[in-house]
């Protein structure tokens, strides 16, 4: 039980993700989580506004079921499998976070960005909404997210996916190093 409760090392998580991708392929589908966002738009009737959402979303229900399962997995982890250990951040990250005013904590999300108080402020609310818009817009523009490009795309040696992953990193580095310290002050 200890092994389940302690944080899992990368060499357990990585292979499990690969197995997940393999089984989804074996079950006749693909591993790509962000497609669900398009499906949710289509289910909500977005085809009235763009033919991009005019497709048979019923074929994509399996993927919606998959993310519902992922949410249940999160619930199971927090309810039955959580430990008090907290995330073991590197000293370098703890220090650089302190410099921009974020205290490291045992939670998954920092209070300084995600707390209810922040959410109730205009800038705090817009930060989260805008961040989400970038992820959703970017994933669809690039034709996939971490699962579709970084895992599936690289595993099947597709150059477009490599370009997308380089893009993920260019954007991520610019945000983390140059923009985040200012956004956090808003």
């Amino acid at each position: 039980m200890e092994i389940l409760l302690d944080p899992w090392p990368w060499y357990i998580a990585g292979p499990l993700i690969a197995l997940n991708m393999f089984l989804l392929i074996y079950f006749g589908e693909t591993f790509g989580v962000s497609s669900n966002l398009r499906t949710i738009c289509a289910m909500s009737g977005a085809k009235k506004y763009s033919e991009f959402f005019d497709f048979n979303w019923r074929n994509q229900i399996w993927n919606v079921v998959f993310i519902v399962g992922a949410g249940i997995g999160g619930y199971v982890s927090s309810t039955y499998l959580s430990s008090d250990v907290g995330v073991h951040l590197s000293m370098a990250s703890i220090n650089s976070l302190k410099d921009i005013g974020i205290a490291s904590s045992s939670a998954f999300l920092p209070e300084e960005i995600f707390s209810f108080d922040r959410l109730c402020s205009f800038s705090g609310f817009m930060t989260l909404l805008f961040g989400g818009v970038l992820v959703g817009f970017g994933a669809r523009y690039a034709g996939g997210c971490t699962s579709g490009h970084a895992i599936t795309g690289l595993s099947s040696m597709q150059l477009p996916s490599l370009i997308a992953v380089i893009g993920f990193f260019v954007g991520g580095l610019v945000m983390t190093h140059f923009l985040l310290p200012f956004i956090i002050q808003l």
């Binding site: 399962g69 989260l128 989400g132």
Partner: protein, 137 residues
């Protein structure tokens, strides 16, 4: 009943990403600061084994559960959509510390403020559908 297996895979996926702290905002921050091997180990070992399994599928011509040939569709088109879309995605990923999968896992974990991020991601997807014909691909 066909859906049960996808639900089960989703649950395993959610538990894996929770227990290995891949849904942690701090882990994403750390990754973009190159301060820890953890996320690189996760993605690297997943891709390594993924490469291997796809090569095995190709060479042994393994059929899927329904007996048809396994076919992984190629990503097509120019490089612009991948680069520009990728950069926008990366900006968002590093800000909210969650990509689409972790968003839903975090919600199940009990972080309700992530709902605003999910709402944003749906709005972003919708906006792409509206403007995509005016974007370079």
């Amino acid at each position: 009943m066909k859906m049960i297996k996808f639900l089960a895979l989703g649950i395993v996926f959610g538990i894996t990403l929770s227990k290995a702290e891949i849904i942690s905002w701090y882990r994403i921050y750390e990754m973009f600061h190159f301060d820890s091997f953890h996320m690189y180990g996760v993605i690297g070992s997943a891709v390594g084994l993924g490469l291997l399994s796809i090569q095995v599928i190709k060479h042994l011509k393994i059929k899927n559960l329904y007996g048809s040939e396994i076919f992984i569709s190629d990503k097509t088109g120019g490089y612009q959509r991948y680069l520009f879309g990728g950069i926008l995605f990366g900006l968002g990923w590093a800000l909210v510390g969650a990509c689409p999968g972790p968003m839903f896992i975090l919600l199940g974990y009990g972080y309700l403020s992530i709902l605003i991020v999910i709402l944003g991601a749906i709005v972003g997807t919708f906006l792409y559908g509206i403007v995509r014909q005016r974007l370079p691909h």
